[in-house]
């Protein structure tokens, strides 16, 4: 039972949880129930891509890293998926996922192998991934043939009235929750983020586990890229721009610490949900300028940061 409470043990995570629940309740009370159920479905579908990426980002951040390349990688994967869609959905998905794994591993090798600061290493790969997808496509979107219904269904279909992207998002959440709380590698990610030197001394293969966090993240970018291509019916070389910042914001609003070692995928889920609700509110009210969304996101992030503030940290020492 204590393990269930672990989900929201951290103060900010708990707050994110309550904020998300309150917003959801307010939303349901606000109008006609059916309208809103439809709406929740919409929110889940809209946020599923950024959600999947945020879950991967959580693993990277908990392990003490950061990954700026997720937006560009998602775009590149969407292009790859669109190109490959003519070969059938299975081949397209499998090959794109493999691509995500490999490119995630590249990030991991730069960080853990060459020991380049994560911020700079993934900044470089962000430029490469974006550059390569521009070069491959000449900056034009790559259409998925209309005949590829099965592939397109990944982005637009439903399972029992639940959008498939949302199903994927929730499935990834479940798997990562199990992975991070109950497997050896999962626990080792937390150990590295908390105290890397100690983790090394205790027998954790630090470089390997670090690489693994970036591999997970690359894989999930591929998942998001596939959904993106399927939903829009085309690979998007210029798509997903700036998603890295939204994903980082969702992770931090959820309550995961950027310093590593403390956080959870469930907290990120609530962070994603909050951002999704806000985006939805703003979209439904056309008169509210869409740029307000960024402002509100930023302010929420600021709020989350203040939640984690310990007054002692500003003093010369503890």
């Amino acid at each position: 039972m204590t393990r269930v409470l672990d989900l929201v043990r951290h103060r900010t995570a708990r707050t994110a949880f309550f904020v998300a629940v309150l917003m959801l309740l307010a939303w349901i009370m606000y109008g006609e129930v059916f309208m809103n159920l439809f709406n929740i479905r919409n929110i889940l579908r809209q946020t599923s891509m950024i959600g999947v990426i945020s879950l991967g980002m959580t693993m990277v951040i908990v392990g003490g890293g950061i990954d700026l390349s997720v937006g560009a990688l998602t775009a590149l994967c969407s292009v790859a998926a669109a190109y490959l869609s003519v070969r059938g959905p299975v081949a397209a998905v499998a090959a794109t996922l493999a691509l995500g794994l490999v490119l995630g591993a590249v990030n991991g090798l730069l960080v853990a192998g060459l020991r380049i600061v994560p911020f700079i290493a993934t900044l470089a790969t962000m430029m490469t991934f974006r550059g390569v997808s521009y070069i491959l496509t000449d900056i034009k979107s790559i259409p998925v043939p209309r005949a590829e219904k099965a592939f397109i269904a990944i982005g637009r279909g439903y399972v029992f009235q639940v959008p498939i992207p949302a199903v994927i998002f929730l499935a990834v959440l479940a798997v990562l929750y199990f992975f991070s709380a109950s497997t050896r590698t999962g626990r080792q990610i937390f150990a590295i983020g908390d105290n890397e030197e100690a983790a090394r001394m205790m027998g954790v293969n630090v470089p390997l586990v670090k690489i693994f966090t970036y591999v997970i993240n690359g894989f999930l970018c591929a998942v998001a890229g596939i959904i993106l291509a399927a939903r829009l019916g085309a690979g998007q070389p210029i798509g997903a721009e700036g998603w890295e910042m939204n994903a980082i914001a969702a992770v931090l609003i959820g309550g995961t610490l950027l310093s590593g070692g403390v956080g959870s995928v469930t907290a990120t889920f609530f962070g994603v949900l909050i951002l999704g609700l806000i985006s939805n509110i703003i979209n439904l009210h056309g008169e509210i300028n869409a740029f307000w969304q960024r402002i509100v996101t930023g302010l929420l992030l600021l709020g989350a940061v203040f939640m984690q503030w310990k007054p002692s940290s500003s003093r010369a020492g503890e």
Partner: protein, 319 residues
């Protein structure tokens, strides 16, 4: 421990690479261009390159100081947008003079920097998070000011001001770059502030215990950085004769951080290399210019830059 005889008195190769890596890279890029790109070494090309790299150079100087304190500032692109749109609105819609509008824009960006510095220096929040907040809120706010529409200058003397040439030969941008590089170099290397700046980045707790006002140092550094971003924004607005709150300065923070990193300033702080940062910024621009002049798609410059970043950082790494 005993010292071996074989230790050479001179500096070893890795240190040379660390200290001069950025210059070597710049030299290589220029050498490649000398062979491959026709007209690359004409005066006009050089002027043009410096003109285009003006914002990156100016802002990399500020970023180098921020990085030296152990921080980072990813909000500079958004700060540019704020500065640009305020400048444009005041000078066009409100009818302020160019000077007054510039000063107002600079004052606002300076205050944004103060806000960053306050949260980092006083509250001890992580710089990435703080400036991510400013980046998001700032970009949103800049867009909201003019509903996301571009403000265009048609006939004002702004365009003249953007093309002003000192003594009729040297573009004003180049004079400003020279002044800024020298000023920041002297500030960092020769003043009390420079020593405090590095002390704060090297060991914050120790710096506080020797009486350094760490908060003030951090506050000033972030404020100056945002101020320089505002400064660059005004000149970019003049050069482009328009203010685009959505696109101006997008991802420019990444270019600045890359320039600083290629310049060999360690990201953990405590040390700063100003002249190398200049070389780093020029390298970034030289790649763009090279790609443009050879009619290669822009995307290739992204790939080349990223390779240079990775190579530069893996050679400069300290053991």
């Amino acid at each position: 421990m005993r010292t071996l005889q074989k230790e050479a008195p001179g500096r070893r190769a890795p240190e040379m690479l660390r200290d001069y890596g950025a210059f070597i890279v710049l030299f290589l890029i220029l050498a490649v261009n000398a062979l491959a790109t026709p007209n690359f070494f004409r005066l006009g090309t050089a002027w043009n390159m410096l003109l285009q790299s003006f914002p990156i150079i100016i802002m990399s100087l500020g970023m180098a100081m921020v990085v030296a304190t152990g921080g980072i500032d990813i909000s500079v692109g958004s700060v540019m947008a704020i500065g640009s749109i305020i400048f444009a609105k005041l000078s066009l819609d409100a009818g302020w003079g160019i000077l007054a509008a510039s000063l107002a824009a600079l004052a606002v960006t300076f205050c944004v920097g103060l806000f960053n510095g306050l949260l980092v220096g006083k509250f001890g929040f992580q710089p990435i998070v703080v400036t991510l907040v400013t980046m998001m809120v700032g970009r949103g706010a800049a867009a909201v000011i003019n509903d996301g529409k571009i403000v265009t200058f048609y006939d004002s003397n702004l365009v003249d001001f953007g093309l002003y040439q000192v003594f009729g030969v040297v573009p004003i941008h180049i004079v400003l770059i020279a002044v800024a590089v020298i000023a920041v170099y002297l500030l960092v290397k020769e003043t009390v502030f420079g020593v405090y700046l590095q002390a704060v980045g090297d060991n914050l707790r120790a710096a506080r215990l020797v009486g350094v006002n760490a908060f003030l140092v951090i506050l000033v550094v972030y404020a100056v950085n945002a101020f320089l971003a505002g400064f660059a924004a005004i000149f970019e607005t003049a050069r482009l004769a328009s203010a685009d709150a959505i696109n101006l300065g997008r991802l420019v923070e990444m270019d600045c951080v890359a320039a600083v990193a290629v310049g060999g300033t360690p990201m953990r702080g405590g040390q700063v290399r100003i002249v190398s940062t200049l070389a780093g910024a020029l390298t970034m621009q030289a790649i763009t210019t090279m790609v443009n002049m050879n009619n290669i798609p822009y995307a290739y410059s992204l790939v080349i830059k990223s390779v240079i970043i990775v190579v530069a950082l893996s050679v400069q790494k300290e053991k």
